[in-house]
């Protein structure tokens, strides 16, 4: 087991504080910095420093996710509370409270995996040493395990947890419950039972109960701030769709890395100015690339739709590598959000209901919390495939994702019936020990060369 004397969040905090202080830099300064890093960090920074992003990726680390983690760790000294939320819960609900900040479990895991020496491995190993099963989901288990470590090492612990996954992910819900029990942190739980108006009514009531409990802990939410938060979320949504529109061009002018950056923003800074700023930058960069006809490969061979999520343990050899090989990562289910568009609210009550509806339609909750997970998944992914004119679909096959694993056959059959080639990978998206990136690359290249490219030629 690698070093576990300090928690993932606190280690990330130190790195992100340093990165936030980076201002303009020369190439040789950047090169010098890279030499100081271990290989996994070097890959991350090379990916994020890449010129194709025109500084937007670095800005994202500094002003979006960096701030997200730093604000959480520094919250206590500023008299604020930290609310741990899963990625399928809208952080803007927490941003309406002046004295609280959210911290998103899966985002923290992902940042730990791309930003730290040994990635999330020490924390994963620690979880297993406590007797937790190796089949749980690394997306949340890495961050949660690090918090469990706080009983015997230095690590950050939130003040309250919200669980939004009952009904859409057992693994997510259970590991959050475990952390709450183990650490004695209060937990507020939502529940999605189905898709009818009656189910929504239950969800809305539970959401309102949750909001009342938050107000008990954090003080009454300000109506004006709530409405403004919603308006800012709406503005970010508009920009999200502008970026989405740009993805329709071929070759795709939106760099692959912008997709995870998009949902990294969604589950951290939504409802705040930072989300608007970063999306303005992403759109600006994509427009610039479109104008200049920039694309890193000679040809865009594959316009791939990743039907659930991508791989996070090597940013350079995954996101950048795909693009350098003519494989555009157009979108994935985690990024397919805000399908219901803008929300209007003039009163506090209307704002709470709007937030409940947003939460109900968040990624994963919407699809895997459906009455028929397979059919809702097919419906949403087909919309995205058609809208972005994708010519292939790839399933990362994250092995802990039991719901999607259970109904992938339904998706595959439907896509195949419509002539969309589908590749099924197998691995752990947050853990490099399971399927190495070299194997994933080889499989993806085989698929693209032998299936996607050939079909493309035939169509021509």
């Amino acid at each position: 087991m690698a070093e576990v004397k300090k928690g993932l969040i606190l280690r990330l905090y130190e790195i992100l504080k340093t990165v936030r202080n980076l201002k303009s830099y020369t190439e040789s300064e950047a090169e010098g910095l890279l030499n100081l890093l271990v290989r996994e960090q070097e890959h991350t920074f090379k990916a994020f420093f890449d010129k194709r992003h025109y500084g937007a990726a670095l800005y994202w680390i500094q002003e979006v996710v960096g701030k997200h983690v730093i604000e959480a760790v520094e919250a206590k000294e500023k008299g604020k509370k930290v609310i741990m939320i899963p990625f399928n819960f809208p952080p803007e609900v927490i941003h309406v409270f002046e004295n609280a900040v959210p911290l998103t479990t899966e985002l923290v895991s992902s940042l730990g995996v791309v930003g730290l020496a040994h990635q999330g491995e020490p924390y994963w190993d620690y979880a297993l040493s406590l007797g937790l099963p190796d089949t749980m989901c690394s997306a949340n288990a890495i961050a949660i395990a690090s918090m469990l470590l706080s009983k015997e090492a230095e690590e950050f612990v939130p003040d309250l947890m919200i669980s939004a996954a009952p009904g859409s992910c057992d693994a997510n819900s259970k590991v959050h419950e475990l952390a709450a029990e183990y650490l004695g942190i209060p937990e507020i739980i939502l529940d999605k039972t189905g898709e009818s108006s009656r189910d929504f009514e239950l969800y809305r009531r539970l959401f309102r109960r949750m909001f009342s409990k938050l107000e008990e802990k954090l003080g009454e939410a300000d109506e004006d701030r709530m409405i403004k938060t919603l308006e800012k979320a709406n503005r970010a949504t508009e920009l999200y769709w502008e970026l989405h529109e740009l993805k329709k061009h071929s070759p795709c002018p939106v760099p692959n890395l912008f997709t995870p950056m998009s949902y990294g923003t969604r589950c951290s800074m939504w409802g705040r100015d930072e989300a608007i700023s970063i999306f303005e930058k992403l759109v600006e960069v994509a427009e610039k690339r479109l104008k200049r006809g920039e694309y890193p490969a000679e040809e865009e061979v594959a316009r791939s739709m990743w039907v659930y999520t991508g791989y996070y343990f090597d940013a350079l050899d995954f996101w950048i590598w795909l693009e350098d090989n003519g494989i555009s990562y157009l979108d994935d289910l985690i990024n397919l959000q805000a399908l219901k568009g803008a929300y209007k609210a003039e009163t506090k009550e209307e704002a709470i209901d709007a937030f409940a509806d947003i939460a109900w339609n968040m990624m994963m909750t919407r699809q895997m919390g459906a009455e028929n997970m397979g059919l809702r998944w097919v419906e949403d992914i087909l919309y995205d495939i058609n809208d972005l004119n994708a010519n292939c679909a790839i399933y990362a096959g994250h092995h802990a994702c039991k719901q999607t694993q259970a109904v992938f056959r339904i998706l595959r059959d439907e896509l195949s019936r419509r002539g969309i080639p589908v590749l099924r990978l197998e691995g752990d998206c947050w853990n490099r020990r399971i399927t190495p990136m070299s194997v994933l690359q080889e499989t993806i290249l085989d698929f693209v060369k032998n299936v996607v490219a050939k079909r493309k030629k035939l169509r021509k």
């Binding site: 406590l130 007797g131 937790l132 099963p133 089949t135 749980m136 989901c137 669980s163 009952p166 009904g167 992910c169 057992d170 693994a171 819900s173 259970k174 590991v175 419950e177 475990l178 029990e181 183990y182 937990e187 739980i189 529940d191 039972t193 189905g194 009656r198 189910d199 239950l202 009531r205 539970l206 109960r209 895997m368 009455e371 028929n372 997970m373 397979g374 059919l375 092995h399 802990a400 994702c401 039991k402 719901q403 694993q405 259970a406 109904v407 992938f408 056959r409 339904i410 059959d413």
Partner: protein, 370 residues
């Protein structure tokens, strides 16, 4: 012998009583969770038959629908459905259990193996809002069954069925107590009895249960254990473990005392409000219910103390996040209170795994000094 008949029923799918039920105009629906109020179904001559893997370890066809990362109980059951083992069913009630079962029901539909599938929603929380939804779900179920099968489900009939289930639960508690201090049944026999309950018309089961109660005899053993964790109906595997002297004297599982021990009895009042409380509150025994860990831990402790057991064996099928994750905390908490615990992750009905499991149990018996 009634016990022999019980074992036969628990080891097969469609049994003679189900055939007779159908021949006399009754209907049979498949479901997969104890959250389904059988009173409503049986009041309409609809027999709820609980889907199980029937100790079938072959999942080759089902694996092409579900995946190797899904629960082997679900894959085993799906395999039987795909092969026609459940063709005697008139349809399915999709009771919302866990992610694996939800996916299994999606795949049953995808493979076109369902004549119909009614979705019966089960909240993951117990509070006044979720109970209110659950009442509506039970009423919807009643209306669905009435419409689908052209039957009338009156409140009087439902109350009769509630009283029948209350009698059965009381007898099952008596049966369970006969296993506590001076065990008169093997755990594998008890599990078979609980499986039979889920595979028979309740009037037949009540008669059979009364006869079984008289068939107890002195059982030899080395150590006594409480079985906790996920659903376990693998009678063969349990029998082989018990042959080593590791006797199961109580369970908190849903194919065990968990199905009836905490079930409230009818004391008047609105029938549907009662059923909602009865079934949703009882479901706290399952790790799919959130915010109820304390209830489950206390239930295990209660059964451990009542049965004067030597330890607790927690089992779950690989890839079960609900019981897999919870078992880590449960083990820690029980051990802190001086209760020895063995956690056994397993693949459903895999006899290839039995050697490993027996070794672990043997080590556990030695650990508790037996």
């Amino acid at each position: 012998m009634a016990l022999e008949k019980v074992l036969e029923i628990a080891s097969s799918l469609e049994n003679d009583y189900v055939k007779e039920w159908k021949a006399s105009g009754g209907f049979v629906v498949g479901h997969a969770c104890i959250a389904l109020p059988r009173e409503v179904c049986e009041a309409g001559r609809v027999l709820p038959f609980r889907l199980r893997g029937n100790s079938n370890p072959d999942t080759s066809t089902a694996d092409s629908y579900l995946s190797r990362f899904n629960c082997s109980l679900c894959r085993s059951t799906l395999e039987l459905i795909l092969r026609g083992g459940y063709d005697f069913l008139d349809g399915f009630i999709r009771v919302r259990g866990c992610d694996h079962w939800m996916g299994t029901f999606d795949e049953i539909l995808h493979a076109r193996k369902a004549k119909f599938m009614h979705y019966f929603k089960v909240p993951h929380l117990v509070n006044e809002d979720t109970l209110s939804l659950f009442v509506s779900e039970i009423k919807d179920l009643k209306e669905f069954l009435e419409k689908k099968f052209g039957v009338e489900i009156t409140e009087d009939k439902v109350v009769d069925q509630i009283k029948l289930q209350d009698r059965i639960n009381e007898k099952l508690r008596d049966f369970a107590k006969k296993r506590f201090k001076e065990p008169r049944f093997y755990g594998s026999e008890a599990i078979a009895l609980y499986v039979a309950r889920e595979s028979l018309p309740s009037t037949i089961f009540e008669q059979m249960l009364s006869k079984v109660l008289d068939e107890g005899r002195k059982i030899d053993y080395r150590a006594r254990f409480v079985l906790a964790g996920g659903p376990l109906d693998e009678i063969d595997i349990l029998r082989r473990i018990e042959e080593m002297g590791a006797l199961i004297v109580a369970e908190t599982t849903c194919y065990g005392c968990g199905a009836f021990w905490n079930m409230r009895a009818y004391d008047g009042g609105d029938v549907y409000d009662f059923l909602a409380k009865k079934y949703l509150e009882n479901l706290k025994i399952c790790a799919r219910m959130f915010g109820e860990y304390g209830f489950r831990k206390n239930f295990v402790k209660q059964m451990f103390e009542a049965s004067e057991a030597d330890g607790v064996i927690i089992t779950y099928n690989k890839f079960c996040d609900l019981f897999g994750i919870e078992s880590a905390k449960l083990r820690m908490d029980l051990e802190k209170e001086g209760i020895p615990v063995l956690v056994l992750e397993k693949e459903y009905a895999s006899l290839a795994d039995i050697g490993r499991m027996k070794t672990r149990v043997q080590a556990f018996m030695e650990r508790v000094g037996r």
